[in-house]
């Protein structure tokens, strides 16, 4: 199945994964900022 994907579609699938990981990291930093200030 994946062998039939175009180069661009393969790239876009990878890009969506990268975006998701980066977004989760960003949200984690946001939560950690508030949590660590609270713990102070």
């Amino acid at each position: 199945m994946s062998q039939n994907l175009t180069q661009e579609e393969r790239q876009r699938r990878g890009a969506r994964k990268t975006a998701l990981i980066v977004a989760v990291v960003a949200f984690g930093i946001f939560l950690f900022t508030i949590y660590s200030t609270y713990k102070q």
Binding site: L5, T6, A15, A19, F27, T33, I34
Partner: protein, 545 residues
């Protein structure tokens, strides 16, 4: 013959390449095209630059002579606050995102950004956030007047009601920046032409990739700070309220943990722009490409461990002062590498001085002045003298105006002919350059002297001993401000009636994949990724392959 999925996909792409943009205003609302969105970002940034610039004119008019002339002190404070916020979040950052949108896909041989619909959303949040921020000026109690650093408790306990709107605007601006950064990371990491390795990428792409990681690490911290401000103001928490067990100094730590990387968010893409322009007009490959990449990464890492040099006078142990002083001074090493490489690229080159090159050279000289005054401010005992004076104002305006803004103007002169297929008026552009570069120094250089003599920042009135340099600075300010009217005319007349260009390579010695597509850049580009030999022959550096 059987048709495979990939054949169908290629047919769809081929069809897609033929249709142009939608007609009418809805094109701009619904667009997912990176060039359209880049254009939107750039016009938005330019509009905000003019609004923020108008506020700067109010500030300089009030400071033209001692005494209170034109505005109330409270309104003056609102002007300094909103001028800073609008220039940082509304002008410089969106302008660089606009340049990234236009150039990154073209430079890495990608058909578009990785997440085009999110790209549309990232942009369209901005005008609403900008209007919300500006609307605070018309609310009861006036707009935010606590400075762009919005220290607690000025921004919590003692702030006007409009501060909640300011907080929401900052949330939206931050959200837009984070989405923009996610898109750039995903695009650069995943959408490059398959044969382009990381060390084949142009410097502008490298600097933006590193900037995007800075944004991902820094902007959520800002979002956390304003969220805690919001709950302190409205939901009874005491994150920054000493009376409830909180700590207002913690706000300063959190703000500057965001704020110092923010400075590099605004200057690293500028380094990228200059690293593209200088090789073109020196007709030499960029000197020390890989050292430029490593220097950029080093600056980015160091930017997270120096934040408290903004807080030497807030109070910290002597060991803390020593650490933050030396860590700050260390940043001059990778920055020096960059300046050395730019100068060495020009060394014995066949230099010509078209307008983008003039701006790039002005950047190298004037940004270095801003860097040197930054070093002076980073020395803890000296900072006791300089802190909160006009010396600081002079320093960061050399970095952000003659640094970041100059690089944006250089980039627009450099790439505008490729974008619109027309050449700007070179004679007017040179007049604009000399007008701006002289006036900006008349505006900001005397502020060093004012600061050294002890004039505090963020005041609407001052002792008569500061009168002469303030008058000179204001005259420079009015001249520099009016230079943007000429820039507006040059850009608009270029787009509407500039001399048409048909050469793909607008500048004869320019290297890069963006110069291999037609001029003006077609609506859709790189439906087929460029091949290895083309990528290597268009590389503006040597040694990476």
């Amino acid at each position: 013959m059987a048709t495979t999925t990939s054949d169908v996909q290629i047919d769809i792409d081929a069809h897609d390449a033929h249709h142009g943009p939608e007609k009418g205003l809805l094109r701009w609302v619904k667009t997912t095209n990176h060039k359209d969105i880049g254009t939107l970002y750039l016009w938005f940034a330019f509009t905000m630059l003019l609004i923020g610039g108008a506020m700067a004119m109010v500030i300089r008019a009030e400071l033209f002579q001692p005494g209170l002339q034109l505005v109330e002190p409270q309104f003056f404070n609102q002007m300094t606050t909103l001028h800073g916020l609008i220039m940082v979040f509304g002008a410089i950052m969106p302008a660089f995102v606009g340049l990234a949108n236009w150039q990154i896909p073209l430079m890495i041989g990608a058909p578009d950004m990785a997440l085009p619909r999110m790209n549309n959303w990232s942009f369209w949040i901005l005008p609403f956030a900008g209007v919300m921020l500006l609307s605070t000026l018309f609310m009861k109690g006036g707009g935010p007047a606590f400075g762009w650093t919005f220290y607690a408790p000025l921004s919590t306990t003692f702030a006007p009601e409009s501060t909640d709107f300011f907080i929401f605007a900052i949330h939206m601006l931050g959200f837009s920046s984070i989405m923009g950064a996610i898109n750039i990371i995903a695009t650069v990491m995943n959408m490059r032409a398959p044969d382009m390795k990381l060390m084949d990428m142009p410097l502008f792409v490298w600097t933006w990739l590193i900037t995007a990681f800075l944004l991902i690490a820094a902007m959520p911290v800002l979002a956390g700070a304003v969220t805690m401000m919001l709950t302190d103001r409205n939901f009874g928490t005491s994150f920054f309220d000493a009376a409830g067990g909180g700590d207002p100094v913690m706000f300063q730590h959190i703000f500057w943990f965001f704020g110092h990387p923010e400075v590099y968010i605004m200057i690293l893409p500028a380094f990228g722009v200059i690293s593209q322009i200088i090789p073109t007009f020196a007709r030499k490959p960029l000197f020390g490409y890989s050292s430029m990449v490593y220097a950029t990464a080093s600056i980015a890492l160091l930017s997270f461990v120096v934040w408290a040099h903004h807080m030497f006078l807030t109070g910290m142990p002597i060991a803390g002062q020593m650490y933050f002083m030396y860590a700050t001074i260390m940043i001059s090493v990778p920055t020096g590498v960059k300046v050395f490489n730019w100068v060495t690229t020009m060394w014995r080159g066949s230099l010509t001085f078209e307008t983008p090159m003039l701006w790039a050279i002005a950047f190298v000289i004037l940004f270095t002045i801003g860097g040197f005054s930054g070093l002076m401010l980073g020395i803890a005992p000296a900072d006791i003298q300089y802190h909160d004076t006009y010396f600081v104002v002079a320093h960061f305006h050399y970095v952000l105006v003659t640094g970041a803004l100059f690089s944006i103007i250089a980039a627009v002169y450099y790439w505008l002919p490729k974008w619109c297929g027309r050449m700007y008026n070179e004679k007017l552009a040179r007049i604009h350059f000399w007008w701006a570069v002289i006036s900006v120094n008349v505006l900001f250089f005397p502020q060093h002297f004012l600061g050294l003599a002890g004039m505090p920042r963020r005041i609407p009135d001052y002792a008569t001993q500061f009168a002469d340099f303030n008058m000179i600075s204001s005259i420079g300010g009015f001249a520099f401000g009016s230079s943007f009217l000429l820039l507006t005319y040059i850009i608009v007349s270029c787009i509407r009636s500039g001399e048409p260009i048909e050469d793909e390579r607008v500048w004869e010695s320019a290297k890069g994949l963006e110069w291999t597509v037609a001029t003006p850049a077609p609506y859709h580009t790189f439906n087929e990724p460029p091949q290895k030999d083309k990528i290597l022959s268009e590389s503006s550096h040597v040694g990476a392959h």
